[in-house]
Every structure is written in C-alpha cells, then in structure tokens.
C-alpha cells in the first residue's frame, strides 16, 4: 500500500538528515523552545488521588491556560465496560477539573472515534456520563463537528490538505489523553496516534481509511505538526498489550506520563513498555533523528527503570523489543 510513498520519504529523510533545522520545525512549537523536553512519569491509580496528580502535573509543566480554550481529547474506541480500551473517564474528568482550576476560559472534551460512529453510546458505556457531570454539554463529537480545510505544510503523507473539526482548530491548547496501548499497524498508539481522532468521520468515513492509504505513520507525523499547541497526558494506569488497539489484553502499569513535547512523551511511554522508540516510524518522522534518545529527554518523577513493564507484542513487531 505504501510503496509509492517510500521513495518520497527517503528523499525527505535525507533532507532532514542534512538540515537539522528542518527537524526542529517538525517538533511542537512549545517543545522547540525548550533545549530539552521534560516528561513526567508519576504513579497513579483510578481513584480520587488522580485529580491532585493531574493538577500537579500541569503545575509542574507550567501549563498556562488562563483565559484560553482547552480541548481535551481522550481515546474513545469501543464499547468496553472495563478499563482496557478507552481512556479512563476519571482521568478525563481530572484533566477537565485541573484545566478549569488553572483558569481556562473554556474546557471541552472532544473525540471522533475511528470505526464506531455511535460516539455518545460509546461514551455512555465507557462511564463518561456517569463520571463527568454534564458530559453531554461538554462533549463534541469530532466526527460530526463542522469542519474547515487545512493545508498541510510540507507533508510527510500523500495528503496535501485535511478537513479538521472547527472545535479542534479553535483550541488554544489541544490535550491528547490517550491510553497506553500496542497497535497492530504502527507498533504503539500513544499521544500522537491519538490525533487520528481529530479527523472527521463525517467527511472521511468510519474508518478514516484515507489516512491508511496516505500512510499511517506519515499522517500521524503530519497531524502532530498541524496542531503544535498541544500537551499530552497518557493513561498508563492500565494499558493494553498484544493485539491492540482493540483486541489486546489489559496491562497494569500504574502510571500517568505527561509533557509538552509529544514525541518525547511517546518515546518515554515506549521505553516504559520496553519498546524501542526509534523503531516507531512516526516518532522518527516527527522528532527527527536526534530527539528520541533517552539522554535528550529530562525525566521528572519516577525513573523509567522503576516502572518499566514489558508489553507483549504481536509477531510483526517483535523487532521493536528493547
């Protein structure tokens, strides 16, 4: 499927290797101002302490949302009464409360599931209505939101433009709240892959298969660049291993991982999962050749070693094992 893209990517990668400054343009705007991305790893559980944990994370990272519009984007995928597939509603609520407490003018929860179009029913089954007061008023189904066309600047993928939901485009800060999971096409799905849910099914369908034909990894890198004002809070309290992102098995890790630089956050999650981040193609594309090394990311809180939990990988990704 992607053989037409390969040649293009090779040229691009060569270009990136020869021009370090280009790699910097692929990083988040906020992240590019920092000499060294900071990533927090904190132990967490699905209980009341999660609210304070998230609030402290935002303070530690000096996230300034006073008077701003924040959109919190969980990973809502499938009917699942447990904790395995979807971002836990308590983490979503804790994030909502934390951003409000920091003075955000407006905080919305928004998601556009990739293959099931009954979003509100998914949210209901996942416990979002029960956990988050006035959820239906706070939530935007990104699959059905009004859209605007965005031209992709110097894209990695075959796409020159994408229609994105106006709710996401209007956010001053887009917060990716994914589940820590393996993924049967790209190896791992974390904060960057979570942005696939920004693509409106109302335009592209369920699933958003256009992205697969344009190059999954390349699209992930493109969307990361298209939404530079972002922050990541990864639900690694219970993740998913094996045949993720839907048919895998629960994997308790007991952490939340957060930071402003999504490539650094995802690279750190990979290390916790005992996956080599340099083996994840979209991370290489988005971060450039020298931004994924452990020594180039300042870890705050727990050490990776103290929380690392090897995730089972499907045979196609055994080569990613650290």
């Amino acid at each position: 499927m992607n053989e037409g893209i390969t040649g293009r990517m090779t040229r691009r990668q060569a270009l990136m290797a020869s021009a370090g400054c280009l790699a910097l343009t692929r990083c988040s705007l906020v992240g590019s101002r920092l000499p060294e991305p900071r990533v927090s790893i904190v132990r967490a559980a699905y209980n009341q302490s999660l609210y304070e944990t998230v609030r402290r994370l935002l303070v530690d990272h000096r996230v300034d949302v006073k008077g701003k519009r924040v959109v919190v984007k969980p990973n809502l995928v499938e009917f699942d009464p447990g904790t395995t597939i979807n971002t836990h509603p308590m983490l979503v609520h804790a994030s909502l409360e934390a951003f409000r407490a920091l003075g955000a003018a407006d905080v919305r929860i928004a998601e556009g599931p990739g293959h099931r179009r009954v979003t509100m029913d998914l949210a209901d089954a996942a416990g979002y209505f029960e956990t988050i007061p006035r959820f239906d008023e706070l939530f935007t189904d990104l699959n059905l939101d009004d859209v605007s066309q965005v031209l992709l600047k110097d894209p990695f993928s075959r796409l020159n433009s994408v229609y994105f939901p106006n709710t996401a485009l209007g956010a001053d800060l887009l917060v990716s709240l994914p589940k820590m999971k393996t993924h049967h096409w790209v190896g791992a799905t974390l904060s960057m892959k979570n942005f696939f849910g920004l693509v409106p099914g109302g335009v592209y369908g369920w699933p958003k298969n256009v992205l697969h034909w344009a190059g999954i990894d390349e699209c992930i890198a493109d969307f990361h660049a298209a939404f530079p004002r972002h922050f990541a809070i990864v639900d690694g309290v219970v993740g998913m291993e094996g045949n993720g992102p839907i048919q895998g098995n629960p994997k308790p890790v007991g952490v939340v991982v957060a930071g402003t630089d999504m490539t650094a956050v995802d690279a750190t999650c990979c290390r916790i999962m005992r996956i080599n981040p340099a083996g994840i193609r979209y991370l290489r594309l988005a971060a450039g050749p020298n931004r994924l090394r452990e020594e180039d990311i300042r870890q705050i809180g727990e050490h990776i070693k103290s929380v690392e939990t090897p995730f089972n990988l499907i045979p196609e990704f055994q080569n990613l094992r650290i």
Binding site: R117, L144, Y204, W206, N209
Partner: protein
Amino acid sequence: MFDIASIINLQNHDGGWPYRRTAGSWTEPTVLALLAQSVEKGDPRSIERGFTWLRASQRPDGGWPPRPSVAQSTWVTSLVALLPPDSLGHSHQAAAIDWLMGQTGEETSLVYRLRRELIGDGSGPEPRKGWPFFPGAAAWVAPTAISILALEKSRRLRVSSGVQERIQVGRQFLLDRMCKDGGWNYGRSSVLGVEADSYPETTGQALLALNGLALSGTPSPKIGRALAAAEEQARRCQSAEGLSWLQLGLQAHGVAAKGPGRELPCRQIMDSALCILARAALRGRNIFLE
C-alpha cells in the same frame, strides 16, 4: 428522542439539517430527516426546502459532498440516491447513480493490483468491487450496503445490466466479509489472522442490502446464520442507532427484532430519524426497500 416535529424544527435556514443542534447543514442528516418525514406526517414546506438544499449541493460530477464546503463527492451520494426521484429530480438521481457506478474500492484499481503483482503480493482471488467512504480508499461494508440499496432503487425504475452486475458483485463482497459469528464488522472478517467482531450497525446494513438475494432466487445459506447473529446482537445492543439498523435489516428478511428490554436513548437527529424509520419498518414500511 426527537420526534418528527422536533426534527423538522431543527432544520437550518438554508434547508439542510445539521448533525447536532446549531451547526451547519450536512448531507447525511438531511437525507435521513427527509426519509423520516416520508414515513411520518412530514411538513411539505420543510421537505421541499430540504430537497432544494440537496439539489443545490450536488456537485458537477453528479455526486454529493458530505457538506457543501467539502470539495469532494463521497459515499453520501448513495444516501441521496435513496430518495424518491420524483422529489429529488430524475436527472439529479440519474447523475448520482452514474457517479456511484464509477466508484470502487482502491484495492480493485488496476494500478494497485499491478503494484501488488510487481512486489510479488498479487496472489489470491481478485477482490470484489465494493464502495469506499471516500474516493481513493478501500471499500467497506457500510458504503457498499447503502450503494447496493441505492442501485436497487434505481434498477426498479430503469433496467440496466451494468447496475444489476454491480449489485450482484456488491452482495458477494458483503457475503465474503461475513464474520465468523454471522454478523458484519465494518471491514474484513479478520485482521492479521485474528477474527474481527461484528457490529450492530454494519450487520443491519448488510442484511438490508442482502434482502434481494432471496427474491433473486439465489438464497445464500449464510443468511440464516446472519439473521441469528443479528437477533442476538439486537438483544444485547447498547445503541439506539445500532438497534435501528438491526431492526431494519431483520425486517427486510421478515424477522421482527427483539431489543435489549430497556429503552436505548436517542440523542441526536441521526439516531432519532433512524428510530423513526425502524419503527415504520416494524409496521411494515421499510423505506430502504421501496
């Protein structure tokens, strides 16, 4: 749940309907709102305004965009083609059918097949032609099912061997993709060797589109299994939209689906309109088969 009066009240000033309150008009909810009005007591002025909006948003290539600001015809064309040609306009409907006839999943394109051959991955039977959600992507169950229904409607009005052939191939596409449990996933029945789960929405849509199999004299032994799976899905369904599609699909085969025994909430225009259409089907009028 929105009743028909509420749905009419949510019509935008431009004549179309939004997916959710106070948003812009989209093709899909507009079609469903019009279909719902056709099985209940609709408002003639609202209906005419809706059709006027649809006619104005048809693209020069004969297809419809998801909404006018999107510069691309997509699968929603098949939904529009389900509307009565007398109301939509025969030329508009004919152009829609022509557009649908020109669409197929990218996996069946000559370029893609040739490329697979060249890299030594071209073995196996040639994939059957279904319909994609978006041109240039692969074919999927939902757009294939709705396209079959649209072509069936067209075929009843004007005989075309080409249309009949696409319908037959499309139905084979669906039968090929039946999951092990007898229902339908949105795509293939297995991924990387792992069986895929089936879903209420796509199972109902596939059953609707396979309605003609028994009538055409080629009943499939798979249908019995599909009906049993759909009835089981209906009993444990968690979504009003999913249950509505199951009821529509089962009714198309003469089976009245039993729901999960609790009221499933309809939250928006889409699921409300589908509930209205499913209830009409349970009363004997299945608009997708007219």
